[in-house]
């Protein structure tokens, strides 16, 4: 099985500080890949490199088996890579449909084609089995944290995206809402998308992911199948970069 998204040998420095060392990372269609690591391990930097926000110093990114160049967020969007950032980037004063189509509104002539946007938004939400919002013409300001996350994810899915990267989608949510969002994450993968889930929460990671990639001080410690490892092993990979045979040898990738 070839990965849909594969990065190889990525280096990234900010001035004298080298943040990513020779990082390898793959995401597979139909699977949830959890990207874990301690604060400062380089998770966000890696994601921003993939999303075209930071240029990479060295290494290659291939998409669907062929090498690609991602220089801007637009390049990433055109490939079908969507990132849902932690702050969600929703406009409180607009409703759900307006937010989902923000910047990519459908028009008929000069005017907005509200009806077709509403239809498509409704279709997308129901394809994700989202039933938690009363009306899709509700203003985002009236939504709960989980509902907002749902809208942000649905917005990312709307554009025939192939890879959806979620930056700590459950960080600010309660128990019930977390369950809802995780369920949605699982469903995204089941529809054939490659989902990358950044998370600090081991329960979340083990609940939904198929693979786990653990970063340690800017190096990829290990990429393993979730079924093959235990909670404790993953925690060791995150905190020490190694766990038994897994992980870095003497602090470098074997």
């Amino acid at each position: 099985m070839t990965p849909l998204l594969e990065v190889r040998g990525i280096d990234k420095s900010f001035g004298p500080v080298k943040v990513l060392h020779n990082v390898e990372f793959s995401a597979y269609a139909g699977e949830v890949t959890a990207l874990v690591g301690d604060n400062g391990a380089g998770k966000s930097t890696l994601v921003k490199c993939i999303g075209g926000i930071y240029p990479i110093d060295a290494g290659t990114i291939s998409f669907d088996g062929r090498p690609v160049q991602i220089h801007t967020p637009r390049d990433a969007g055109e490939l079908g890579i969507e990132i849902v950032y932690q702050d969600l980037a929703l406009c409180d004063n607009l409703d759900i449909v307006q937010n989902m189509f923000l910047g990519r509104e459908r028009r008929s002539g000069l005017l907005l084609d509200e009806d077709s946007m509403e239809e498509l938004a409704e279709k997308t939400l129901s394809s994700l089995s989202v039933r938690t919002v009363k009306s899709i013409r509700q203003q985002v300001s009236s939504l709960s944290g989980g509902q907002r996350q749902t809208v942000a994810i649905a917005k990312a899915v709307l554009w025939n995206s192939k890879v959806v990267i979620l930056d700590e989608p459950t960080a600010a949510l309660g128990v019930a809402q977390t369950a809802q969002v995780l369920e949605l994450v699982r469903r995204l993968a089941d529809t054939g998308l490659a989902v990358v889930l950044i998370s600090h929460n081991m329960n979340d990671v083990f609940a939904v992911s198929d693979r786990i990639a653990a970063l340690y001080l800017g190096r990829m410690a290990a990429q393993v199948k979730t079924a093959d490892v235990t909670h404790a092993q993953v925690v060791e990979l995150i905190t020490a970069g190694r766990s038994g045979d897994l992980g870095l040898k003497n602090g470098v990738t074997p």
């Binding site: 980037a89 409180d92 923000l102 009306s135 203003q139 300001s141």
Partner: protein, 421 residues
């Protein structure tokens, strides 16, 4: 491979698509008001209260001549306020709009009186002046990054000087062009008033019905027929009353000169109101304006050209100020250094805010400016009739503005608490 995540009931409310009815719409509206989203309610209530008070205190307030006066008195401020809404939507402010209207009016007067150009060229020159002013202000705010408060405060001072330069250090340029003078001083023939009324009501009804039909066809939730009938009926009754009163003879000496009909500024305001409302609510540009006002960072990430949107808002504001200046020049039949000065700007900002436009950005409609403009005009007019001097007028208008801004801030707090807006 795929694991099933246990489903928790949580807040999962199955989409309760309430049967849309007039009762439900009304209840939803009440809920929004209680949640802090008052919209135009304070302005409408204020208008009603003010009118009742003035009518009881001074019977001359409810004469047809005074009713017509209200429109011509409030027109310039209303037009400037309509433009200000665009800047306020971004959470910015334009303190120079008043004197920008003065500069544009002076350009009109100079080209008309001194250069003797035809009126349409002069109007175009005045509006172009507005466009240039807006571009400069907008560029300074969006590209250079100076706070709009400072940029427009500087412009407020500079434009006073510019007006003085244009009118030769304080002379009064009188305007004799019949077309320009007609804008604020002449009326439509009564039959044309009724024809306009019929067209407006019919068009409003047609737009509402067509939209509902299109949505029903696609299986989307549409406004019920009863609600549409209620809206169209309200418009028909209120506008019909207004046209009827304006068509009454209001000359003191009808044998000498007849004075009837809808003032020409009314259709001018109506056309601009419809145009800007369509642009704001039904075009991508309008949507992006709200987005920038609501969350600039989100708008930027969505690929919206934030700087361009900001500059265009200032251009629209200054151009509408130019239109307001032309109407003010027409009403006074002259331009002097005080055109657009003194309280014009504050009344315009007041009109927009009283109508329900938020000073925090992201919330507001062009209609707000018209409703707020009506409130300001009624205060100005009614206080004048009661024989109060400028001092009391300023005090009352100031208090009303403070009240409106207070209502806005409190509504916002409440909205944050209830999660509604």
């Amino acid at each position: 491979m795929s694991k099933v995540v246990k489903q928790l009931p949580g807040e999962a409310i199955v989409a309760a698509t309430q049967a849309p009815s007039i009762g439900n719409s009304f209840r939803a509206y009440l809920q929004r008001v209680r949640g802090g989203d008052m919209g135009a309610l304070p302005a409408v209530l204020g208008l009603v209260v003010l009118c009742v008070v003035f009518a009881l205190a001074r019977p001359s307030f409810v004469t047809s001549i005074n009713f017509a006066n209200l429109f011509t008195q409030g027109a310039a401020v209303t037009l400037i306020a309509m433009g200000l809404v665009f800047v306020l939507l971004l959470g910015e402010i334009d303190l120079s709009a008043g004197f920008a209207s003065g500069v544009c009016a002076a350009v009109l007067a100079v080209t008309l009186a001194s250069l003797g150009l035809p009126w349409y060229v002069c109007v175009l020159a005045a509006i172009l002046t507005g466009v240039v002013i807006g571009t400069v202000l907008g560029t300074l705010v969006a590209k250079v990054g100076i706070p709009s408060f400072v940029v427009t405060l500087a412009a407020f001072l500079a434009f006073q000087g510019l007006v003085l330069v244009l009118v030769d250090e304080g002379t009064n340029i009188s305007i004799r062009d019949s077309v320009i003078v007609a804008i604020a001083n002449r009326n439509l023939p009564p039959w044309l008033g009724w024809a306009l009324y019929a067209v407006c009501v019919a068009a409003f009804a047609a737009v509402q019905l067509l939209r509902a039909r299109k949505r029903t066809k696609r299986g989307l939730v549409a406004d019920p027929l009863s609600l549409i009938a209620f809206r169209v009926g309200t418009l028909a009754i209120l506008a019909g009353l207004a046209v009827f009163v304006l068509n009454l003879e209001r000359s003191r000496n009808p044998a000498l000169v007849s004075l009837t009909g809808v003032p020409i500024v009314v259709p001018v305001i109506l056309v601009l109101l419809v145009m800007w409302t369509v642009i704001l609510r039904r075009t991508a540009f309008g949507r992006h304006l709200y987005a920038v006002g609501g969350n600039t960072e989100a708008a930027r990430r969505a690929g919206i050209p934030v700087d361009r949107i900001k500059i265009s808002a200032f251009v629209i504001c200054s151009s509408m100020a130019a239109v307001g200046g032309i109407v003010a020049a027409s009403r006074a039949s002259s331009v002097d250094p005080n055109t657009g000065g003194s309280s014009v700007l504050l009344y315009a900002v007041g009109a927009a805010v009283i109508g329900g436009t938020s000073l925090f950005g992201g919330k507001g409609r062009v209609l707000d400016a018209v409703l707020g403009g009506a409130v300001v005009a009624v205060i100005e007019n009614g206080m004048g009739l009661m024989g109060y001097g400028a001092s009391v007028k300023y005090l009352v208008t100031g208090s009303v503005l403070l009240l409106a801004a207070g209502v806005d801030a409190l509504a916002r707090k409440r909205a944050a608490a209830t999660g509604l807006r």
